[in-house]
Each structure stands twice: as C-alpha cells, then as structure tokens.
Subunit: 242 residues, 2 copies
C-alpha cells in the first residue's frame, strides 16, 4: 500500500466522465495497482478511483523548458505537475489520470494478506431465525420450507397457518414498495395452483416504510416487524433448554 498526500487533480474517463479540480488530497495505491482518491468529506466512498485489474504508469515530467509557456495564449496558466499517474483498466478503456502538483508525503507499506471481515445480522439471518421461530407469524403455524422455489424465483419462507392454509413470507431488512411488489407476484402465481390456494402473504421486515405498509395491507397482506435482537435472544433461550 502506497500512501500519498499531495495537491492533485484528476480526470476519469469510462462509463462516465468525471473531473476533480486541484486540491490537497490523500491517494491510496493498493498492491493490485488500484487507486483511491480521498478528501476530508464524503462517506467511505472515494472521490474518484480505479478498480483492479488495472495498470499504473508513472510519468515524471521534464522540469525544464517552460519559459515559452508564460508567454503563451494567456490561459489560466495551471502550474505544471511534478508527476502524473495514469491508471488504465486492463479489461476496458477506463482511464484515470492524476496530476500531482506538490507532494507532501509519499510512503509505502507492505500490509500482507488480510483475514477479511466476519459479518452477522444480514437478511439471511433474519430468514433463518424466522424459519426457526415460525410461530411469530401466528400460533399454530408450521414451516413448509425456506427458499420455496417458484418459476419466478424462490419465496423466502413458505409456511402454513393454524387452519392449514399456505402463507408466503417475504423478508426484508428494510421493507419498501419493491418488497410488496415482489410478494404480490409470488402470491399471484402461487394462487393459480389449486393445490396451494388460498395462499396468504406476509411482509416481514425490521422496518417497513409507511407507504409500503399501506400498499401491503391494501393488497390483503399482513405486515410483521422483526426484532433482530429479540429473535436472536429467543434462539439463545431455545439452545439453553438443551
């Protein structure tokens, strides 16, 4: 990892064109030659970058022979860069040009491999917990299966209610209109099957936008708020019994 702090400007040309006026910024160049440009603001996303696989060329401009320039066409005489980094994508014509005007720091570190991130609490976990605690959708409910296959993709959970009627459950972390549309498609399709009909729909999520709730209820679906911590807690309790 090479870390450069410098006054720089950048031009990206690829699926879009983007330019970065001169300013003091931080550049990270990874072992795979990918380059990231950061400023003080913004979230984790760099202002501009080049993703691997790519190739970096470093050009040192000649420092001399510039008196003619001052006598030139009178343009906003941008000072000549002391260094130019050109990063080109290997598999496309994307190019990122970075001009460095003044380098405050330029250091290299070998970080070695990284063991990577371990995550817990993603949508998959919500699905697993709800499948194992299926009575959260109503007493007497039974799990049919997770990822119940249909022609238009798998339903997150298929279950039956106390009356033995089928219930299709769509699970989201954040429930929006898209999720309701998705559930609608599944239910419509499943209800064409006389062996399954009637199939009820449940829209389950940690949070549900008001608009999505209205739409879901208008279509006869039940909305269910999932509390991750509570579900995890219930899971632990269950394990503790054994």
């Amino acid at each position: 990892m090479r870390i450069i702090v410098a006054d720089c400007s950048a031009e990206y040309s690829g699926r879009l064109t983007a330019s970065l006026p001169p300013a003091k910024r931080v550049l990270l160049i990874k072992a795979d030659s990918s380059l990231l440009i950061f400023s003080e603001l913004g979230s984790y996303k760099p202002l501009n970058w080049m993703a691997a696989p790519c190739t970096l060329k470093e050009i040192e401009p000649e420092p001399a022979a510039e008196p003619a320039e001052a006598a030139g066409a009178g343009e906003t005489a941008e000072p000549a860069p002391v260094k130019v980094l050109r990063v080109a994508a290997d598999k496309s014509s994307d190019i990122l040009d970075v001009k460095l005007y003044h380098v405050y720091s330029d250091a290299q570190y070998d970080l070695g491999e990284d063991p990577g991130l371990i995550k817990e609490g993603v949508e998959d976990h919500l699905q697993r917990y709800l499948a194992e605690q299926i009575e959260r959708i109503g007493e007497g409910a039974k799990l049919v299966r997770r990822e119940y296959p249909t022609a238009i993709g798998p339903v997150d959970i298929m279950a039956t209610d106390a009356n033995g009627e089928h219930v299709a459950i769509e699970i989201k972390r954040h429930g929006g209109i898209d999720g309701v549309e998705q559930l609608t498609r599944y239910c419509e399709l499943l209800n064409r099957d006389p062996l399954l009909a009637p199939v009820h729909g449940i829209f389950a999520a940690q949070t549900i936008t008001p608009q999505a709730r209205v739409l879901a209820e208008d279509r006869g679906f039940t909305c269910l708020i999932l509390d991750y911590d509570e579900m995890r807690g219930a899971e632990s309790d269950e394990l503790r019994l054994f």
Copy 2:
C-alpha cells in the same frame, strides 16, 4: 486527515455485527471523525468504517500490570493493545472499536475543503441518444417527448410507431424485474386514457436479465437492447453531416 498504519483488530456493532481479526491495515480518520479501515484487497470499499456524524475517543491503555494475565484462563492470550479507538455514531447506537497493537505510522494532514467531483452522467445519455435516434424502436417512429409526465411519475420516452399508435419506453442501464414493473404501471395507467390508448410498451436497456425479459414479453412488451457505443457513434456521425 489522520493516516495510521498499524496492526489492528476491529469490532463493529450496529445494524449488524462485524469483526475484523488482527492484521496490518491502513486507517483514515477524516476531519469529521469518520474512520475507514483498508487492506490491500477489495475495491474502494473499506473493510470496516464509521460514517459521520460520529465521535471518536482515544484510549491509552495502562502499559503495566499484566503479569497476572499470562497465568489466566489459558485463552489465546491476545497481546494487549497499545491504543484503542472508539468511534460512536451520534444519531444511533452504532459503535466501532479499533484496537491498535503496533503502530507503524501515525501522521496528520490538513487537507482543507474539497471543490468536489464534476460528473457527466450515463442513464441520462442513453435516454438522450434514444430520443434522438427514435427509429431504433422501429421504422416510422416519431418522438413525442422525453420525460413524458404522468400522475405516477414521468415516462422516460413517449413516442408513436409507424401506425401512429403510442409507445411508452422505459430505459435502464441494466434491465431487471423492477423496470418491467415500472413499465407495467405506466402502460396500465396510460391505457386508461382513451386519447392515448392503445399504448404499447418497450423495455430498453444495455443489458436485460433473462427473468426480466420473460416477464416483459409475457406482459406484451418489446425488449430492446441498447448499444451505448453504437448510439454514441451514430450521434457523432449525425453531427459530422453538418
């Protein structure tokens, strides 16, 4: 901007839980106290991070009084960190703890404000090109207008075909099921207007997923693959005539 290179581990607790085993990494701490953790691999996304607004606390552990630890429960005796950074989100209970075991470098730079990125967009171009090359949807087609307004939002392009019948076009870079749903809603609404009906639908994109294609064709829509480079080329050719 503070730049730290160190052996570190991290624990994030928020909407999900994520942990990062010890390794040599780069930390960036921005002026707003947001913190990013990078390794050599991956794209522009950090392994772990805390977004602003947040507050950073730096804890210097006492270096002494640790002989008892070695005689402890025999756990995988992790060496004590020389420094702990705790970043807490201001508006939620999200917390990111970073333990530093060995610091290779720790430097601070004042970058100042950044003028920001100037972008020139993409989907917008697809729309513009198709509007100007409307016969790509069929000979004799005429443009009615881009961003044709309806009660549920603007249709990307409204046109007429060789028979003078209306055609609503939904444009995406990558055509998925969502886009088909969107087009469905527009066509359903527009076909209620006797002055417009019948309104045909075209689903146009650089790429269309097989499922989306099936759904679109099932609903009587035409799928159209857009070649960005070809359209841009045609545009240049047209300009060259003048």
